[in-house]
Subunit: 242 residues, 2 copies
Amino acid sequence: MPEDSNPLIRALSRRDQLSAEERGILSEIVSRERTFAAGEEIVREGSTPTESCLILEGFAARSNLLGDGKRQLSALHVAGDFIDLHSLLLRTMDHSVVALTQCRIGLVPHRSLMQVTLASPHLTRLLWMITVIDAAAHRAWVVGLGRRSPLQRLAHLLCEVFLRLQAVGLTQDRAFHFPITQQQIADMMGVSLVHVNRTLQELRGTGFISWREQTVTISNWERLQELAEFDPTYLSLEKQPR
Amino acid sequence: MPEDSNPLIRALSRRDQLSAEERGILSEIVSRERTFAAGEEIVREGSTPTESCLILEGFAARSNLLGDGKRQLSALHVAGDFIDLHSLLLRTMDHSVVALTQCRIGLVPHRSLMQVTLASPHLTRLLWMITVIDAAAHRAWVVGLGRRSPLQRLAHLLCEVFLRLQAVGLTQDRAFHFPITQQQIADMMGVSLVHVNRTLQELRGTGFISWREQTVTISNWERLQELAEFDPTYLSLEKQPR
DNA sequence: CGAGGTCTTGAAGACGATCAACAAACGTGG
DNA sequence: CCACGTTTGTTGATCGTCTTCAAGACCTCG
């Protein structure tokens, strides 16, 4: 894969300096590619992967099915995200990963990742960092689900997605392509589909965003952040030695 | 600190083989100890720690304060847990850590941890594993807050705490000391104090647990797990090469 | 013994779920 | 290119759950 179109390199070099050698390792780490249609399972709960999946294009989510047929999405992932990097350490998946839209996925053998841990402490720390930023996002979702109103949760989600897409160069000014259904939003926010629809109307009603033809445009970034009580610290978007 | 009373060594050797050398490194990694009273802040949101905190004794939680004075606890931690290991990679804390009970804390300099990443790939992976198991617990909480009833959430919490305490040898048969207030439970479960009280009565009413004098006793482990739809996979309690 | 924290109970009201129906958009094959 | 079926979005009405407010009981510790 050519280096500059590799979203992993983009995501990492956004947060720390990468040496030429490190870029080289990262650009060769994807062994093969696969494409998944929207709704398909990329990784299955209970499986024990021998490769980790890197999103090259599209949106995916961690999915947990409950006994009564309910579903909770516990994380949203975008291009550049390593969706099951933790399976290197954990062996058996405690959740599935599903494609929310069509996804192009790069597969990275655990063998190669293990090799990185043996050969490059710095790259190892950066991979570790990825999982730890993931965990920070999980905590932000816990806070939202526990104590924020559905309106705030939705606003918070859009703030998060905007910055994460911006970090990999997938925004145009204040807009981004977001081909996600209301049912998927509902399963992320822990509310019913009907309520998402109404909350979305309320959010549009504020005039802080518009959402038409699968494109979200943030018309008032300041006020949207205020509404969501959004603090971007947890995304760790600063460039620092790690 | 003597090796066998070091809960970090207990927690890690529960999940992978540790060499004598590795045990040695771990037993010397705590530079000093501090004690915190219940309610005290162990790590402050916005700070940039230069040491990480290991719980030697007591219960602590990650705490997020919201604008209107609400509080959400995004994780519960017990002896053996590294509560801000991620600050090694992330620099600034996006949440506080508070002592829920009196806590004895071991402080581990980032310098020592960085040294581990340079010298021991295997220990590095185990430290990484700790943060990744943490993240798995966060996801379990997301699922609970999003889609489980308060009753199930409470049952799930008790299942989780029981197994985590068992892993560090802090259970007696089917019972464990759990000096946590209903307000703290409420802030973990994202419900009101009043509702925790009523849910707790309902859970006691099932006869699956009793909770008297700060001690939880699980009288029907099978049925409690069933009620909570609890699957311990996410705790990664198996011993495996990592 | 008194004070503050914790637990418990009741009553009212808000919020979001559920059920049901319809509209709009999309995609596919005839 | 249109017809039709499926998916997605929208709206209204009813019901149940959980919040909020308020007050009292209990307990622990100085």
